[in-house]
Symmetry: C2
Subunit: 240 residues, 2 copies
């Protein structure tokens, strides 16, 4: 039973991968509007409605492919983070950030699809594969900053100086991440995240073409600001 059943499942799995590859090929080569159920089915050699045996519809297909992109991006960042796990934590943080931009610039269509999928509103159900993959992606830097906070706390603002409304939101977020960062430290982390991710959003959406042809040095400067905010340059190796 297991043998034959899993043979079917293997076949199904292979078809699913073919479908994803076809959708991605259409996205990269012809833009997001070309990723239609019919076109994807044609690409893998079946007729339109057959694809509904794999996905309930266009939106679900888009969500599955988006989850793939999140996973691939997360894997690239994790690999950079773990490439030299004897390196100082600060170096590993910066490596993960660089891997993020490297993936985004190597796969602009896919990265743009992630945060502004132009064909369907994102699936926000917290149990969707898309959401799970997005969480894994978002947690990579968070976990690194948590580790940094534990081993070598970075400077934080005085909570008393923050507006009450912001303090409350930071407290809620701090609780949502299990209290692994106090609100003030969460504030520093979120500020870094906004600058990093925001810059990549604008780059990929071509909002800065009017001024820059090569965003690499701009990103480098953003990383320097981030290193300063997290006090990464304070000293040498992590255990020194």
């Amino acid at each position: 039973m297991t043998a034959s059943t899993s043979r079917r499942q293997r076949l199904r799995q292979a078809t699913l991968e073919e479908i994803h590859a076809a959708a991605r090929k259409l996205l990269v080569e012809q833009g997001s509007a070309a990723v239609t159920v019919n076109a994807v089915a044609r690409q893998v050699g079946m007729s339109g409605p057959a694809l509904y045996h794999y996905y309930a519809g266009h939106d679900e297909l888009v969500g599955a492919v988006t989850a793939d992109f999140f996973r691939e991006l997360a894997a690239a960042m994790e690999q950079a983070r773990d490439a030299r796990d004897d390196a100082p934590l600060g170096d590993r943080i910066l490596a993960a950030c660089r891997a993020m931009r490297a993936w985004a610039t190597a796969h602009p269509a896919e990265f743009g699809w992630i945060f502004a999928s132009p064909v369907a509103p994102p699936d926000r159900r917290p149990d969707s594969a898309r959401h799970q993959a997005a969480l894994r992606f978002e947690r990579i830097l968070l976990d690194l900053v948590v580790e940094l906070w534990r081993t070598r706390p970075f400077p934080v603002p005085d909570p008393a100086g923050l507006p009450a409304s912001l303090r409350e939101q930071l407290a809620a977020y701090s609780a949502a991440i299990g209290g692994r960062l106090p609100p003030e430290a969460a504030h520093v982390f979120l500020s870094c995240w906004i600058r990093l991710y925001g810059l990549l959003c604008m780059e990929v959406l071509h909002q800065l073409d009017f001024a820059y042809t090569d965003m690499a040095p701009v990103f480098d400067e953003c990383l320097r600001d981030l290193a300063a905010a997290l006090d990464l340059d304070r000293s040498g190796p992590p255990d020194a």
Copy 2:
């Protein structure tokens, strides 16, 4: 001749405005995918192909509506800038920035449409109405910063400390804006623009919902950073 001709033209103009209003209504109420040629035509009471007497196709309609949004956003910022033209320049800069976010949050669908119009790749021909309107929008803060630079120069980084590649791009941009800002000052301006616009992009694209329910205090803090970068708090009124 003039009377009758302009009556026709007035009629046409009124129809154009009806079309734009219908497209916007569909966008706001049902999302960007609902802005179709047929649906818009239905909304204004004509049948699909009739709309082709006003626009060459779907993309041109989208471009015209997007230009409207840019103009409305720019007008809101200009009004805030000019509301009290006896106020210190720094206050007027901050007022324009606040007006930008106020418009974005009051019209999230329209603002999202501006930089990630999910139905058509933006028209980048430099003579398109969309492009002209985008330029007007982008120039508002630039002009303010130029004026600030002339009357009360803000601190700039040492160009020697910047990477060569960045220096070259900044020099090109400085030339593109008629040399009204030297490269180092242009760098400060662009950094501010990136942080401001990037934050709004992320807010409207719901990329920060995982942490914030109300971005107002986050934006306020961004404005404080901007004021610090431009040295707006140095002193009182402009002529003091």
